[in-house]
């Protein structure tokens, strides 16, 4: 597998504000890559650098094998972009904008365009000014999803969509992935990323703090364990077992979280205490995310 996006050590400052501080990002061909981070963490700045709209102060890398700053135009033949805050020409209708963007990108799949307009229940005859935020987003999404390009760059594309439309968006995204397209999906809607993304990168204060498949990321985190035992250990005993944290004991019930590499040991040890019920809960993306955003101890 080749990398569609691979950039290293991106730095970008606006005046005194450091937006990116050595950001690395790798997106593999054919994957949906979640790009997670809170507001102001540098997601949109990164995307604008990947599109060649901004020039990184430092850092190297390619998108689809091209230098995004020097070969922006060539690069843009192979990607479609949906900005986070979709603005439309106030006097053009949604249909006109879809056609315009399709033509500027060098062609649009007519059948897919029709199907998408229908599925998203988009009224194409309204002027840009008259659309709600969600409908503006639909216009941009239809234009992007109907383009025949290998890479989609979507900056929080579902922020204005209702849950029904989000469902449709997810399905379309899956269909495109199955067709071999690559997607960079910036988002802070974790359930969406969890459902749609093969791998994620978590950005914080201008650098990637974690990157990998959800399984990898989970592996780095603790699993929560709850067990009902015939002979429960004391709290002190439980805390002394390797890799356990946040331990609690209440009669025959124990709760704790455990580092991934010690999960096996813990289960074995629990077994010797006579397990009656046992639940192991891998961390949710939300927990992964929050864990990386807790203020780090100095």
């Amino acid at each position: 597998m080749t990398d569609v996006i691979s950039v290293f050590g991106l730095h970008k400052a606006f005046g005194n504000t450091v937006a990116l501080d050595g950001l690395d990002l790798t997106v593999r061909e054919g994957e949906v890559h979640g790009f997670l981070g809170p507001n102001g963490s540098g997601k949109s700045t990164t995307i604008r650098i990947l599109l060649g709209l901004l020039r990184a102060d430092r850092g190297t890398g390619t998108v689809l094998g091209r230098d995004p700053w020097r070969e922006a135009t060539e690069l843009h033949r192979s990607l479609a972009y949906v900005p986070g805050d979709v603005v439309l020409w106030p006097t053009l209708t949604g249909g006109e904008v879809i056609d315009l963007l399709g033509r500027l990108r060098g062609g649009i799949d007519e059948a897919r365009r029709r199907r998408l307009v229908q599925r998203f229940e988009l009224d194409e005859t309204k002027k840009g000014k008259a659309y709600s935020k969600g409908n503006r987003q639909k216009v941009a999404l239809v234009a992007a999803l109907a383009s025949d390009v290998p890479l989609l760059v979507l900056d929080e594309p579902t922020a204005g969509l209702d849950p029904l439309m989000e469902e449709i968006f997810q399905a379309e995204l899956m269909a495109l992935r199955d067709a071999g397209r690559t997607t960079l999906l910036s988002s802070h809607i974790l359930s969406e990323v969890e459902k749609a993304c093969d791998r994620v990168s978590i950005v914080r204060a201008g650098r990637i703090v974690d990157s990998g498949s959800l399984a990898d990321l989970r592996h780095l985190s603790r699993t929560r364990v709850h067990a009902l035992l015939r002979s429960a250990p004391t709290l002190a005993e439980l805390e002394a077992w390797p890799g356990t944290h946040d331990a609690r004991v209440d009669g025959a019930e124990v709760w704790c979280s455990v580092d991934a590499e010690h999960l096996g040991d813990l289960v074995a040890t629990l077994g010797s205490h006579g397990v009656e019920t046992l639940t192991c809960q891998p961390p949710t993306l939300e927990e992964l995310f929050l864990a990386r955003y807790q203020p780090q101890p100095a």
């Binding site: 901004l54 843009h76 805050d85 209708t93 033509r103 500027l104």
Partner: protein, 533 residues
Amino acid sequence: MTTRLAGAPDLLRLAWRRDRILVPASVIGLVVLSVGSAQTTLELYPDDESAAAGLAGILTNPSIIAMYGPLASQTADALAVFKTVMMGAFLVAVLGFVVVRRHTRTEEDEGRLELLGSGVVGRWSPLAAAVTLATVAVVAASALSAAGLAALGMDVPGSVAFGVAWLAAGLATVGVTAVAVQLASTTRGAAGLGFGFLAAAYALRALADSADDGSVLHALGWLSPLGWAGRVEAYGANRQWVLLLGLATLVAGVVVGVAVLERRDLGAGLIPARTGPARAGRILSGPLGLVTRMARGTIVGWTLGLTLGGVVVGSLLGSVADLADDPVVSDFLEQLGGSAGTVEDIFVSTELGFISAAVAAAGVALALRLVGSERSGLGEVVLSTPTSRLRWYAANVAVPLALTTFLMVVLGVVLGVVGPAVTELAPSLGESVGASLAKLPAVWVLIAVAAALGGAVPRFAPFAWAVLLVTFLVGELGPSMQLPSWILDASPFTHLSQLPGGTFEVVPSLALVAVTAVLVVLGGVAYLHRDVA
């Protein structure tokens, strides 16, 4: 009532905070315009004898009165403010319009009012704050000008009347804008209504003022707020009561505006947004087509406007001919236009100079859309497609250059057809088109300034407007104010060949074209190398 106006003082403070440069700078500019030009005129014509003897005959001429309004009296004072009464009244009206629109429809259009409106802000408050600030601005410009003129030693009741002339036009426009921003559902729509109103008011008073006293057409001039400015007749009849017309219009406008406001939803107007085609036409296939399509309203409006302008100027040539044998006339016109040749030639050259400045404004507005689209995020959308920056920049420069060229051709052709039909002394079709095209290099330079600023330093792009205004005023008032030649030379209009009647000088025109090219290239190079977002 009080709940409807809740938060109005806070909104007024916010508006003032946002306009603390715009409003004072505009007021100072207007005061400098009125007092400065009066002072220099009075230095040239210190007493009524010199003024009346030299110029009174000309100023009763319909074509000049069509441009500036009636002459109030044959005194030096009246002469000193002859041009600035109308020019200033128009600019004061524009200031009133801009301030009201900025804080009402623009805020609503951009969605900022929604944020404010969800707080403890009464429904009438934004309009009340905007109208208050605009009124303050208009009153300040008028009152300070009146005080300044009186301080020059000019007749005091006349100076007050001068202030009244500006104020009546300004207050009326504030009132009309209060309605316009309720009717239109977009900022641009409000601009269309506002400037359409001002253009109609100007055209009506131009026609009425050139009609005979006592005719119905002449009486119709009382319907135009710009007509009021002339009919105050400052330093003549001094009709101070005209102020009541302005006040009444302001009050009526606010009442109607509030009534509409009571009935409409936030974000909506009374003129609803229409639907359009579901598929794009062929023109929307590339950056050039996109820019052209977005300029459609501008193209249609200005083409109609310049056709009308050509007809009006062409028909006025008939009355200019009556004065052909008065030598004083050509002296004066020469001062206005600085030309040589017949009275008709000079008149055409002068009018073309005026109109070309307006055409340049259309060009500058279009050239600034490069920055506008960057700010709104539309530029990002276009540039994320295979459209190169070079093509996007080029399209945004090419359309204003092409449109202004087209407009001047239209003007020249219409003038060249209508003029000879009215009088055989008018310049021929070829001369008219040639003279019209000869103004283009200066127009192009101003567009190039906007393009260069937008390409290199988008933050400063609006300075292109200041450059346009200053070059226009320098060209218009500079010679009679006897400004030093280096200031005059800084205006591209100074370097144009005087056509028709004069000879076409190739070198200065080529130099202006070269300046245009250099500015466009510099802007383009900078645009290719800077961050866009």
